[in-house]
Each structure stands twice: as structure tokens, then as C-alpha cells.
Point group: D2
Chain length 125, copies 4
């Protein structure tokens, strides 16, 4: 089950417990909690730093800084974005994809295909 569909059917009153309880497996995902949930603060801090880098680029262009120095800063920002993407992806694989595998069924194939397409977009092939 994807997050978007999550929640509605999950029995109430089980927050934080009973992941593999009884006959039915209920995961964090079922409760609408994403893989990156716990790293949220870290992610936001990273993204604010990248936002600062992009503002720095504007200043560089505005102050007529030498082209090559601007390109170096662009590379740094791109790298920071990809590094953020990799962390997000790792958490996604660890939680969403692994959850789907545990639950079994066709879901895991869909999740893996979706993740692979996201990786392809990052690779830009």
C-alpha cells in the first residue's frame, strides 16, 4: 500500500506498536509515516543550506564574479542536492520498499519499479 492510500483502513489505537502483530502486518507506512520521518530536521537543515548556496549564486552573478568560480559553486549545489536525494532514497528503500516486500504480493514489484524510475531520473538517462 502506498502512503497516499494509507491510514484510512488502519485500526486506530495502535500507534507505535504492533508492527507485526497477529494475522495482519501493519507498518509505519500504513500509519502514514514515511521513511524519512525521523531525519526530517536533518533534511530541512540540508535543504536550507542548499537554498543558501543558490542565493549565493545569485549574489555571484549580480557581482559579476568570474564564470568559472560560479560554475564551481553550481557543481557544489548540484552535488548537495544529489547527496540529499541519495539519503532520501536510502530511507525509502529501507522503509517503503522493504515494507512492501514483507507484506508480499505484487506491491513490491510496483515499488521497485517506481524507485528504479526515480533513480533513472536522477541519473538522467
Amino acid at each position: 500500500m502506498t502512503t497516499t492510500e494509507a491510514g484510512a483502513t488502519a485500526p486506530s489505537g495502535e500507534t507505535g506498536a504492533a508492527e507485526a502483530g497477529g494475522a495482519e502486518i501493519v507498518t509505519d507506512h500504513d500509519r502514514g509515516i514515511h521513511g524519512y520521518h525521523k531525519q526530517k530536521d536533518e533534511h530541512l537543515k540540508r535543504l536550507r543550506r542548499i537554498e543558501g548556496q543558490v542565493r549565493g549564486l545569485q549574489r555571484m552573478v549580480d557581482e559579476d564574479v568570474y564564470c568559472i568560480d560560479i560554475l564551481t559553486q553550481v557543481s557544489a549545489s548540484t552535488k548537495a542536492l544529489q547527496s540529499f536525494a541519495l539519503q532520501l532514497l536510502e530511507e525509502h528503500l529501507r522503509h517503503c520498499v522493504a515494507d512492501a516486500a514483507v507484506k508480499g504480493g505484487a506491491e513490491v514489484d510496483a515499488k521497485v519499479e517506481e524507485a528504479t524510475k526515480a533513480i533513472a531520473r536522477l541519473l538522467r538517462t
Copy 2:
């Protein structure tokens, strides 16, 4: 291995069943069969085509073909390699990583970390 595709090569007596049955989960991985096993022929065909492209590059350099045309062919070869990598990765996630998730334990974390590092190398961050 996912449960769904199991079977054909599996020793008799366990076709399509038993993966999650009983006390022990036995997967293709346990039997030394990798995720890309069934696509082997397709993979080899792809790689032979890429080998042909690289030989084509040698011919181009040897015949003093215009630099830009060589660069275009390099891009095509790189793209073909990355496309091969993505297919391999998808099968790896579907089989090895999903298998680890089904088995539970610390294995899945190790597998996901390993896969993420491989993706990072492909992204060259």
C-alpha cells in the same frame, strides 16, 4: 527471489510454495541464484552491443572522424551502460533486497546501504 517467480529451476517439492512456509524461508539467493539470472541472455546481448560501440569508437579515432561525432558516440555508449546498470539494479532490488526484507533482521539494512552506495557510484557524487 520473489515468491511469485519462483519455481521452475527450484528443486522439486517446493515449487511455488514454502518460501514463507514453516520455520525457514529459503530463497533463490540461498540457492546461489542472483536476481539477474533469467535476464542473463538479454544482459549479454546488451553488453556485446556496447562492446561493439566501443570498438566503433576506436575505428572513429583511427579514421580521424570529427571530434564532436566521436563525443556523440561516447554519450550513446555511456547511456547504454547506465541503462544496463539500471536494469541490473532493478532486479537486485526486486530480489536480493526484497529477500533480505522478507527474512528480516539486520540484513536488510546492510543490503540497502550497499545498494545505495552502488547508486552513489553510478551518480558519481
Copy 3:
């Protein structure tokens, strides 16, 4: 010409003229005008849009948007940064590198090496 050598000695009142005049070649670069000068507004507009995308990413993380959707937006931002880099690079080649070639001497080799290194950083090899 690099920024460092630029400007100070350039006679005033010759804007837009005399590039290849007389005995000495005086280029825009000599007058401290970079290749990307005329596209400045366009560059700033692009960068502000990218800054908006990065802020959008923060909102997505904050609102627990599905990981894959965040990754799609990261790819879009990375692509926008690289597209900006390519435009900057094109202007750099057209102006700084071509200027160095016209002037002759060892300068052009240094400029080409510098540009290639910047491209390598963008490619992250």
C-alpha cells in the same frame, strides 16, 4: 582575459567598439565585462526560480510528501542547475576562451584547461 588582469588599464569611452582595432586587441574582457554580462537578468530570474524549487522541497519534506515525489522535484532542480551551468559555460567559451585565442600566446591553453576542469566537475568524474 581573466578578471584579475581586467579593467584598470582600459581606456574609457570605447564601449562596444575597437575590439580588434589598431595594434592592440582590446576585448570586453579587458574592460571587466564577462561573457554572461548581457544575460545577467535572465540568469538571475533562472536562479530565483531554482531557489523557489529548493524552498518547495523544504515544504514537501515538512508536509511529509511521498519520498518519490520529492525525488522527482530534486531531479528537476538538479536539471535546472545544470542547464544554468551550460548556458554560463557557453557564454564563457564564446567570450573568455575565444578572446584568449584571438590574443594568442599561452593564455588560451590555460583557459581551455580551466574550462575543461569545470566541465569535469559538472560531470563529477
Copy 4:
């Protein structure tokens, strides 16, 4: 002789004839000699090594090597191809693009645009 070393200061009667003769500038490019001419042997050696890497990949697939190890080798081959492309590009900028700049006219714009598009293909944006 490359264009950059050519020209104004060259003693008459030099090998290759008439580089900077009279009114017309004649460059290596006019004589059908590409920038990468002198590095030909080095390029061919590099490409044969990459061909060997791709054959190595076929062997790995054939021998059912672990997916992640294959992916590592794919990354190495991609990197080698990009490194080859960068060297070719550097020579192209140093010779073909610089030549066009020396000759002046609209040619340099076309050459720079062409080179930028090749870089874009390498970046895959």
C-alpha cells in the same frame, strides 16, 4: 603545429607551410588535421582498455557474479568513457574552437554552440 603556436612569429619556410601566410590564416583544421591527432595512440589505448572492461562485464554476468560487483565495474567503465570524452573535448576546444576564434566571423559561435551541445549530451540534461 597547432594554430595557437602558429602565426605571427613563425619563421618563414617552416614545416607544414604557410600557417600564417599573408592575408589568409590557414590552420591545421583546414588541412584536415583534428585536435586529437597527436593523442591518437593514447586514445586508442584507452579505448581498448574500456573494450576490455566491457568484455569483463560479460564474463561477470556469465559467471553469475554478485550484482553489486557488476555495478561497480559498470561505474568504472562509465567513468573511463567520460574521462576519454573530457580529453577529447579539451583538445577540441584547444584546436577547433580556438582556430575558429582566430579566424573570426560567425564560425566561432557555431563551434561553441556545437561544443556546448556535446557537453549537454555528456551531462545528459
